[in-house]
Subunit: 204 residues, 2 copies
């Protein structure tokens, strides 16, 4: 571990780094991970550019740090609260609820909308570590969601001929639509529409 400053302790440096990442997530949510510039981030935080960049080395490392932390927020606010629930349809529906809440209420962390959706659109036609990381996140969550569906089928909560991957594909589509509804249209009835859409996906 390299001490980044002669003036701040390791604990203080860690706190500064966390503040940078948190602000970076919010800025990237609005302007994209490329639109997230070191200069604006520094000005926002009252720091020098070198002070910001010193914690990461490169812009790409900062982008990856923002995505990694955002994925921890997602895990904490969407997956974790339903982990203790009874496996099957109960947990699946609860998951849909925390997911919709995440898109609706995480305005402080992601004022410009879901950072993963933004990053997916922004990097899907490029190569490199950021694109790979985004693809891995979506793949992992798709797989996990399909697993929840499979469990619900095994419990007899959903028809035996349900295709878990197909359901997962459709559920992601619904949440993409919800994200647009909230941020492009500012629609008030977005969550009601989403709930109906998800019910239909499950009804098969």
């Amino acid at each position: 571990m390299v001490d980044m400053s002669p003036r701040k302790s390791a604990v203080e440096a860690r706190g500064t780094r966390d503040r940078i990442v948190a602000r970076g997530m919010a800025l990237a949510s609005v302007d994209g991970l490329e639109g997230l510039t070191i200069g604006r981030l520094a000005a926002d935080l009252g720091m020098s550019k070198a002070g910001v960049l010193g914690h990461f080395g490169t812009k790409q490392a900062l982008q990856l740090a923002a995505l990694r932390t955002a994925s921890e927020v997602f895990t904490r606010t969407v997956w974790r609260p339903v982990e203790h629930l009874e496996p099957g349809l109960t947990r699946l529906r609860a998951l849909f609820g925390t997911w919709a809440d995440y898109l609706e209420t995480e305005r402080d962390s992601f004022p410009g909308g879901c950072l993963f959706t933004t990053a997916s659109i922004e990097f899907d036609a490029r190569g490199g570590p950021v694109r790979d990381f985004v693809a891995r996140l979506f793949t992992a969550w798709r797989r996990r969601l399909a697993g929840e569906v499979r469990t619900a089928v095994a419990h007899g909560d959903l028809p035996a001929d349900t295709d878990p991957e197909q359901v997962a594909f459709e559920v992601f589509g619904v949440f993409f639509a919800l994200n647009q509804e909230i941020h492009l249209f500012g629609a008030a009835d977005a969550v009601a529409r989403t709930r109906r859409a998800l019910d239909r996906v499950l009804a098969g």
Copy 2:
């Protein structure tokens, strides 16, 4: 009409403008409408920056021109081919086909994926004319799609209690998911998944 060049006729200038817009659409599809820079566009076309910008005046006008032309491509390749078909479920299903084809095969025009989806994500947390134009496009297409659903209901092709706006919301979600499937994942079975998803949306 102001002649932009002492050396090119108005017809030639128009052709140049068209080439700029076509290349701009492709670049914006990959790097976004902000990532579309005058300098790269000029270098790509073997022109000077001033030569490019002279046709539009500002970058924002170029962005709007790219979106407007892209919307004409969309109308020509998605809506127009089904206009002559029998109104109702037949036309609706044909529309889904041209739409999926547009996402799958318009790789020359939009190598980085659907420009409207990109623009929606990129501008949804901002103000200004570009955001407004994108929102108007989506609103118009949502309304038109809902109208097709309403027609299908009126023809007895879909249940009387079908909610056309709800169906339109879900259909857009499916196409967002298809766009990701193609460009982030490069998935081969994306169209089959999409067809199944759309069937389920219509089955209600």
